[in-house]
Symmetry: C2
Subunit: 390 residues, 2 copies
């Protein structure tokens, strides 16, 4: 069965709050407010083909060739044949899961993890096996022993998101080497969702699974232009692997749905020419936002959050009984100066029942003034929430 | 396992033929040469949003509302909530299959049928159960007895494509009433892929499954703008159903992949304003093309094809031993005036092994002059093909 997202369940309460004239700050979603690069939008405005035809099932060749150059800049060395473009990372993950796993196979994912992985797994008939990462360690990779505990004959893959949604955690080279050791020892695929590659802070550099030597047959890189260029609606992502047999199978799934979106590919191809200054500005903005949130949370009584080095999310531990109830209460029964915040209950990011009850995910996708007001709301809310535990 | 398409297998032979300087007429694909309406392309050129954001998971509301008007013109009465937009009919079919069938369930489809249905079924873990329609009856709906033979406890749905790809057959009201009788008697879903709705000839009118009374909980309409507006690359289709429970489940699959492509929806929404004169011209053109092909085939010795009333495909019976071999031979060993044709072996459209060996699908997606030259090639080829059976 497809699981219901705890964020979706809150939508009617947010609508009702707005109906009562309450200003709701949306920190619940990964839809940035940053502008899409002009160069991408201009490519669409200058679209001059007479027929909007199917593209190659793996994606427009000139786009894939330009992507080779993009990845080279990130020290990832591939060819256009190693890439299959999908309608977002969503479709790319489906292709990847369908290509290397059969119904009933298992994929290990450190929790908390991006809730939609559950949906893709249901789609592919694959079972997600969670292993725990914890807020106390900043959501670092669980030790090898936790992987070994759950690896069995049905285990086919490990999946990580790096930098991580929902935690913002950035995996170190040592952690990636650990994943390599496990993957090789048990002959597992290693899925890495690296859609937040550009969003690393405090001088940290992103390490890709593609930087690991001797893992070519195991690694599947999942990517998307949605966050990189604040272009979630173009629905362009990709799967990348040097495993030829795997890619041949994935191509059959790609061919079955004919082609990825043409307009989105045109925009994404042009976006590769986005000037570096765009990212400098965007990163400065996100860094300032992260600092606002992290500082504010850690000043709140009995609240805590790690200082994440990537993406644009923070998971915070709050003195609350039940994050689903709390997030609903924020929308239904609370307002401060006629404002409130919509947060994502962390329960939706844990596969293990009972985990995440005192945690929420905060997406810092609003400007710093709105974030400050949001944090003030949260601080006041924690003082009066009936289910507070402090 | 994902099946390999017999058309795909031919691609390297077509490339090789072109490499030898042979002109290859592509009658193997459903990619029309007709221009996309200006109104759709202009909407894209005038795209003025700063952030290409996720749309609603079911599709942009204003687009769905305009679609309600489009369908009303076709005497199909629905609301915006009855529609979920997909990345092409491809994704819409996946949503529909995943929503109303479990792994191992069966869907009955009259063969020959659109080969990609196999891929979607594999994706959804569903088994396609073919029942025979025959070229001798012009590929009319098989009699009720053929359905009854294969209906069992695992049967959950029937699927038809109307007008049909690959046969061009247009189902009559009586045939649709027959489907209704079967669906109600056995409580089955009735999937209807109606993406060729606009392409009906000789004064015939398309009858939709949505025109059937008392079947609201069973009917799932699959649609796409790809063929209607010659805009295959926009990747915009939809599933439509009045079954609220089914749509609630389908929405979970839609939410798991976040949203359909924004640019494509903008183009598709604008395309609804395409003037009627566009379709008058396009239909005149296709009718002329159909007549060229049907007349030419039926003049060839021992060849035969029905006169299809819809879509832009013809299945022709030829005096050949094996359509896969013949189509490969056309590309590999044959040329007439340094030209040849690429056709689709009909074997790929039959699930029953051994059927379609003496049949090919011809897509009349080229102008009449090219079609005449193609038919001349085919005629000459049949005279000298080593595996000819006459």
């Amino acid at each position: 069965m497809m699981p219901e997202s705890p964020i979706r369940k809150l939508v009617p309460y947010a609508e009702a709050a707005k109906g009562r004239g309450v200003n709701v700050y949306h920190l619940n979603i990964g839809q940035p407010d940053i502008e899409t690069p002009e160069v991408a939008l201009n490519a669409i405005r200058n679209f001059d083909q007479k027929v909007v035809a199917y593209s190659h099932s793996a994606g427009i060749l000139s786009y894939r060739e330009k992507l080779v150059g993009y990845y080279k800049k990130h020290d990832i060395h591939i060819t256009a044949d190693d890439i299959i473009i999908g309608a977002g990372a969503s479709e790319a993950i489906l292709f990847a899961m369908n290509s290397c796993m059969d119904a009933g196979d298992e994929i290990i994912i450190p929790e908390p993890f991006y809730a939609n992985y559950n949906g893709f797994a249901v789609n592919a008939g694959v079972k997600v096996v969670p292993i725990p990462s914890d807020i106390e360690t900043g959501f670092a990779l669980p030790p090898i022993s936790e992987f070994e505990k759950v690896i069995g004959p049905k285990t086919k893959a490990i999946m990580v998101c790096n930098p991580n949604n929902p935690t913002g955690y950035l995996y170190s080279r040592e952690e990636l080497e650990t994943l390599k050791t496990i993957a090789l020892k048990h002959d597992l695929y290693l899925f890495a969702d690296e859609v937040y590659r550009e969003f690393c802070y405090d001088g940290k550099k992103h390490i890709s699974v593609m930087h690991l030597d001797g893992l070519d047959d195991n690694v599947i890189l999942i990517d998307s232009v949605s966050k990189r260029y604040s272009a979630c609606g173009v629905r362009i992502g990709c799967m990348i692997s040097k495993n030829k047999e795997l890619m041949a199978t994935a191509m059959k799934f790609a061919q079955a749905r004919l082609s990825p979106p043409t307009f989105g590919q045109v925009a994404a191809e042009a976006a590769i020419e986005t000037p570096d200054s765009y990212f400098v500005e965007v990163l400065e903005e996100y860094l300032a936002r992260r600092n606002v949130v992290v500082e504010a949370i850690n000043k709140m009584k009995d609240a805590f959050c790690p200082n994440p080095l990537g993406a644009f999310y923070v998971v915070a531990k709050l003195p609350i009984d039940d994050s689903d109830k709390f997030c609903q209460w924020l929308l239904e029964d609370f307002a401060y100066n006629n404002e409130t915040v919509m947060l994502a209950p962390a329960t939706g990011f844990y596969a293990t029942k009972g985990r995440g009850l005192d945690e929420v995910r905060i997406s810092y996708v609003l400007n710093t003034n709105d974030l400050k007001a949001s944090m003030k709301c949260l601080e006041e809310a924690l003082k009066v929430y009936p289910g507070k535990t402090n």
